[in-house]
């Protein structure tokens, strides 16, 4: 590839070229690293003829392709330029903070030094999105003076662009959170920004499945949402969740939203209407989850979601009003009715008509583990399970678990031995 033979001049030429492309098309919304052989193909698809002069960058329809051939060279040049600019900027900052006289020319050069840092850091981050020092430099500059909201929204646009190529970049997501914090500090947090962030995660989640960083970001947003928005989010994201039943991060997000609904009930000023609404939301989620569980056999994420739903249903919505009667606060008529239905669900999931399909076996396993998990949290349910299932069916459930996850039964034995 002959990279070793490239001069420093060549490298900086390349960097200039890169930065020029970025400058000339501020609406670039997608960037990617492309093998050089793909360039002609891209040109063909775009209907343009390649003039063969710039095999390093491809820019059409606001998309930017960077040849993988020049990546290392470009990255080194960008880092070098960035660090040099940053050091110069810091030196200047230190010097001017020490001098007492207002110096207009130093103000001007300070601005141009800052914009140099911004320009080079942008280049670096497009190539190496986790380079924290570059993000920090931008934070440093943005923290100064009174920035317009625009400066922050521009920053959101840049990080969105970077995420198009590096959707898992922790530093990029973290930077977005910093920007949102800054926005909410100096301006009010428009609901719109939160909504857009949420939508961004969903669109990234489409291409980058179970992306922890993306979904974590979405969960983080929940603490900035008013309760109406929380409920809206639950409704809006339902369809996507139904199409991605194996995405456990997506269901975790729903749990986060639902917990927030629960939390709002414990706050002073919450009324009966709120509780009715929460009750309705919970029931709907339970019913919808049951539908999905029956339709998509053996999906772990769905059964895990049910664990959360059922446990909270029993512990929060079924509980006796007063816990002073001496009997368990969870064992009442409502719990009985609910758990009865869960046992029916378990029984229908235990039917394994065909040993060839793993899904049936997985379904039986998940259902069995689910019911055991509930009895682990609420030991009083075990007796009910014994009574309703009968010895034979119960043994079948335990055997199913024993085959795949024998260790989950170990502590069960201890628990029940202790009770005898």
């Amino acid at each position: 590839m002959g990279q070793g033979s490239c001069s420093q001049e060549d490298s900086f030429d390349l960097l200039n070229q890169f930065e020029h492309v970025l400058d000339s098309d501020p609406l670039i919304d997608e960037v990617g690293f492309i093998h050089p052989s793909q360039f002609t193909l891209l040109d063909k698809e775009a209907g343009s003829s390649s003039d063969g002069t710039s095999p390093s960058f491809w820019n059409q329809d606001h998309k930017l392709g960077i040849s993988s051939d020049i990546l290392i060279q470009l990255c080194k040049a960008a880092k070098h330029a960035f660090l040099a600019a940053l050091n110069e900027y810091k030196r200047h900052e230190n010097a001017s903070s020490e001098s007492l006289t207002e110096n207009i020319s130093s103000g001007v050069s300070c601005c141009s030094l800052a914009s140099k840092v911004m320009k080079h850091s942008q280049a670096v981050l497009l190539l190496s999105s986790d380079f924290g020092t570059a993000w920090n430099a931008r934070k440093l500059i943005l923290s100064k003076q009174n920035q317009h909201l625009e400066a922050f929204t521009d920053e959101l646009r840049l990080s969105r662009l970077i995420l198009s190529n590096s959707p898992k970049s922790e530093a990029t997501w973290s930077h977005r959170r910093w920007i949102i914090k800054m926005i909410s500090r100096s301006f009010s947090t428009p609901q719109e920004i939160i909504t857009k962030e949420s939508e961004l995660v969903e669109s990234i989640g489409e291409r980058s499945k179970m992306n922890y960083r993306a979904w974590y970001h979405r969960c983080w947003l929940v603490s900035y949402m008013i309760i109406e928005q929380v409920i809206q989010e639950l409704n809006k994201s339902k369809r996507w969740a139904g199409l991605h039943v194996a995405d456990s991060s997506c269901f975790h997000y729903r749990r986060r939203l639902m917990l927030r609904v629960l939390e709002s009930l414990k706050v002073k000023g919450s009324n009966a209407n709120d509780k009715t609404e929460a009750h309705k939301i919970w029931m709907e989620e339970l019913d919808w989850n049951k539908e999905l569980v029956k339709r998509y056999l053996g999906r772990e994420a769905l059964w895990l979601h049910r664990r959360f739903l059922s446990l909270n249903w029993i512990m929060y919505f079924c509980r006796n009003q007063s816990s002073e009667t001496g009997e368990s606060i969870f064992m009442n008529k409502e719990t009985g009715i609910f758990f009865d239905k869960e046992i029916h669900l378990l029984e229908s999931s235990m039917t394994v008509p065909d040993n060839k399909f793993e899904d049936f076996q997985a379904q039986a396993l998940h259902a069995s583990v689910y019911i055991l998990w509930l009895t682990k949290h609420i030991p009083e349910l075990w007796r009910m399970l014994e009574e309703k299932l009968g010895t034979e069916k119960l043994k079948c459930v335990l055997d199913t678990v024993d085959q795949e996850r024998p260790s989950l039964l170990l502590h069960q034995i201890d628990t029940f031995a202790a009770k005898q």
């Binding site: 380079f131 975790h252 994420a301 682990k376 260790s407």
Partner: protein, 318 residues
Amino acid sequence: MSSTSSSSLQMGELVADKHVRYILMAEKKKESFESVLMDHLRMNGAYWGLTTLALLDKLGSVSVDEVVSWLMTCQHESGGFAGNTGHDPHLLYTLSALQILALFDKLDILDVGKVSSYVACLQNEDGSFSGDMWGEVDTRFSYISICCLSILKCLDKINVKKAVDYIVSCKNRDGGFGCTPGAESHAGQSALAITGSLHHVDKDLLGWWLCERQVKSGGLNGRPEKLPDVCYSWWVLSSLIMIDRVHWIDKAKFVKFILNCQDLENGGISDRPNDAVDIYHTYFGVAGLSLLEYRGVQAIDPAYALPVDVINRIILNR
């Protein structure tokens, strides 16, 4: 090496020498793709590589002076360490730096007060820790801070009770811990172990969630419905050991899985069989085998992620 020599190897053996060679060569290859794009986390890479060498009893193959002098150029005036020379400091790299110095028994070259102050200053009002001055909070940073100060024997510089309370507030109903309250479960129990607050953990519940990470192939995943990945051998396994539930997974199957992730020709370990290798997964694979007491691998401490004899040395000194 010809292919016949690799196929004549017994199915399921750790090709330790190949891994050592892989690591030593990677340290030298500064111009490689991986190296250039990852040079901001060189400190972490160094820790992974060096600890693996230590576990395979080959730490002597590197030049201590070379590593340590480079390492010290990464120290920032605030006392914290950066991922590489001239970069910004962060807790992540500070821990790796301390761990590397511990491996070489060179902790005494540090200005302990300076480093510990950097770490202690990152504790927030609610007991949580930020990764650096820019404020991102995560229970990983709690673990890292506690680990750092524990190695430096300055735990009293932070509010330990608040730190523990914060981690506990990140406990989820499924038994696992998230990176902030309400986040999806990941790993934070190491911190609790070090501070001796393991009683805050519901061991059965956590053990349940952890052992459900083992999939049919014997490997461990990090979250439900995900593919197994060798790096989870560390997180899941070390947690299970600390809560005395390691017998809840099928150890033999897991060992087999890790061994299948090796590149038998060129050395190195990948995230799952037949993928490309890297230093990160090589370290976690070997560390996982160490936790499972694999023959020929030195014992590693599950809380500190350092060889047991290194930890003993720290505890017994001063």
